[in-house]
Subunit: 491 residues, 2 copies
Amino acid sequence: MAKDFSTREENYSKWYNDIVLRAGLAENSAVRGCMVIKPYGYAIWEKMQAALDKMFKDTGHVNAYFPLFIPKSFFSKEADHVEGFAKECAVVTHYRLKNAPDGSGVVVDEDAKLEEELVIRPTSETIIWDTYRQWVQSYRDLPILVNQWANVVRWEMRTRMFLRTAEFLWQEGHTAHATEQEALEETYKMLDVYADFAENFMAIPVLKGVKSENERFAGALETFCIEALMQDGKALQAGTSHFLGQNFAKAFDVKFASKEGTLEYVWATSWGVSTRLVGALIMAHSDDHGLVLPPKLAPIQTVIVPIYKNNDQYDLVCQKAREIKEMIEKRGVLVKLDDRDTHKPGWKFNEYEFKGVPLRIVIGPRDVEKGTVEIARRDTLEKQIVPIENLAQTVEQLLGDIQQNLFRRASEFRKNNTQTADTWAEFKDILDDKGGFIMAHWDGTAETEQKIKEETKATIRCIPLDDNKEEGRCVYSGNPSVRRVVFARAY
Amino acid sequence: MAKDFSTREENYSKWYNDIVLRAGLAENSAVRGCMVIKPYGYAIWEKMQAALDKMFKDTGHVNAYFPLFIPKSFFSKEADHVEGFAKECAVVTHYRLKNAPDGSGVVVDEDAKLEEELVIRPTSETIIWDTYRQWVQSYRDLPILVNQWANVVRWEMRTRMFLRTAEFLWQEGHTAHATEQEALEETYKMLDVYADFAENFMAIPVLKGVKSENERFAGALETFCIEALMQDGKALQAGTSHFLGQNFAKAFDVKFASKEGTLEYVWATSWGVSTRLVGALIMAHSDDHGLVLPPKLAPIQTVIVPIYKNNDQYDLVCQKAREIKEMIEKRGVLVKLDDRDTHKPGWKFNEYEFKGVPLRIVIGPRDVEKGTVEIARRDTLEKQIVPIENLAQTVEQLLGDIQQNLFRRASEFRKNNTQTADTWAEFKDILDDKGGFIMAHWDGTAETEQKIKEETKATIRCIPLDDNKEEGRCVYSGNPSVRRVVFARAY
């Protein structure tokens, strides 16, 4: 166990930061609020991208790329949208530097001022809907099912690696449809894709729901989301899918001739997930020994560490280790053999444990003799001796077990940290105690939501998309309510 | 053949633009100099990315991500570098918009001015070497073999889709090494990777060489490049690999403790290719019928078009077409069956021909009866009737043939358009006639190179990396020369 490393109990926030830094996932850069995603962290993001990209393509979407820059005037075209993003926009005003007259370096060349300032995209609805106007004339041009992998910038004041950074990487789907019904179906479909990804790849159970008006995306008619619970009892919004109605079509004048020959505005959706998911992954599963990764998103799924005392043993053991590696790789498992003689086995054990590698195989001279290896699971830290015969199968099975076990563990945690509150006192007690999801009645007004937030920092994470209607009284105002909603403090 | 479409003969530049637009590869956006990469164009880029990414990983590299923003002061740290890029930098000066007092929209909030302006990366050497300072202490931390897939911005005055745009997508490798020798080896290795990719995926023969001082990357000791020849006789630089020496290590103070215990500056390389390659691909192979794609980079490798006169025939033919599709897909070929009944076969023929789909399979009721299909090659426009039995094998073989034929054709073209010039009159005649690569003696001075450029617009594309030493006299100055170099007008 890493000694110079905070535990969750001691300091949850420092524990998170320590993992990000020491596992080599990311670090802060010289630019305020921007992080460097280091190779190991980026490899996790690449695995997420690959899985999501396949899911998008399997549901009929294609990728495209739109400009980084958005003319400032585009922003004003949708009133709610500009209201939501104007306060956190990085703005390009000039297009040239020149040598400072005093020789002190370079300065902005005031002669190279842009006629209209350009905003670095915080999200791309405006530039994309300006483009779609050219793409859509008739119902035959619809639907447009486009996704973009891109960087975006939101000038956040308080940043935190992966969870909230000024620049982040994400995907944003932007679809255009002939009917409201079809756009709504798309919105739900992509919410399901996100939930599927969260649960089956990230091993994190999520609640699907709709946002209250306060938490809605700027420009959307409805924002749907998946909400996950972190180990400190705080919620994390892991993905959103927006039903945009005809707002952007109206703002950018995107109309189509319907089958019936009428001219109609196009219906829109947008949906996105970001590198924030890496933060969720860390906080959902990791422990006081470091990162814990679900096998499906682990850049290294199994590491092999040879044990030896002299050169002869080294050769013998590494020879066998290479055979094992090849055998396991044939099954499509990502295996690393760390045969460096510059680092001791104990150092390697700590290193890969800290980096969350799901399985560790240790092999020494005695093992070679006996035809066995020691295999250790990162999730439970259990070790067992297993025969080399059928090892590939054992590994595959264990990886499957770990994937399931992490999901089971996270589901159990969520279950144990989801409580109902029927009085305001109960509500506050839960927050003061261990937090988690609170199922409580709400009177449906933005005022009550705002007051609850001010008094407790808890927000409505979502109104769940289930059928559990139950009449009651608002936990804060006592006014009537038709169903419980999900409250939590959130990232 | 598409009638409302320029031929190369009529107007080469318009022909290029027509292909980009009509094949649905890209279009200009509302933002000056920035293009929208449309789904079909982006799909080609994705195939390029996948192939290159695998080659990078196979040569030991990993991906990472560094900030979009570079503090202005970083730029001044390497003198040549700032000199090379300062004139085309997009600069962020503010981080907030606000409502205009007169209600006319949004304006830049002057209270939100950055203390230090941020430059949108035109390339990332500076921000990356500032980061590497933290990553390198000892020789054990080397080499660093990192690549980044990213967008960059260079504020070009004259832009052209794919070939030169203000924002473009690229990859940039940035490696750090303990010795000069190792860094040089890396520089050559990545040049070879690029040449391999250009020839074996893009089917474009390239010259490998080193740039003259005038054409060197700002901050490099040597710039190596691959140069391709386009159908209008102009050259296109398709990739560069830079040996940066210790320039950036010195500018950002990146030192390491060597095995011998001395403190040394780190040696560096950087290398990149961009979406410009899509432009090269278009211009190298396409013809007056539209785009021609090498099978290895075609998003659709084979299209199946059914022919029918009534519903019964439609069902019969489509049933067979689906069987064929499945059969071919099993071999890993990307097949599209266009069974839309909203478009006529003739329209579809034109469409896929224009989009450069390497193979077209046509099947009608007679074919189903006889167990045959018609298959047409995009490169030669030849058609033949082949049996459905073994069709998958036939398709695979034809795709291989097309890939080879395109490379052979482009090689032949280059051979026919590479000439030697021994006098200044010859040199100018070649340029006035058909252009192409001119092998000529040069006295090695920047002045001569500059004068030749001023008088003819031709530049030294590279000094080839072959052993063809041959003494002679400079074609311009008459001064002695040790070898011929490659001149051409270039994109």
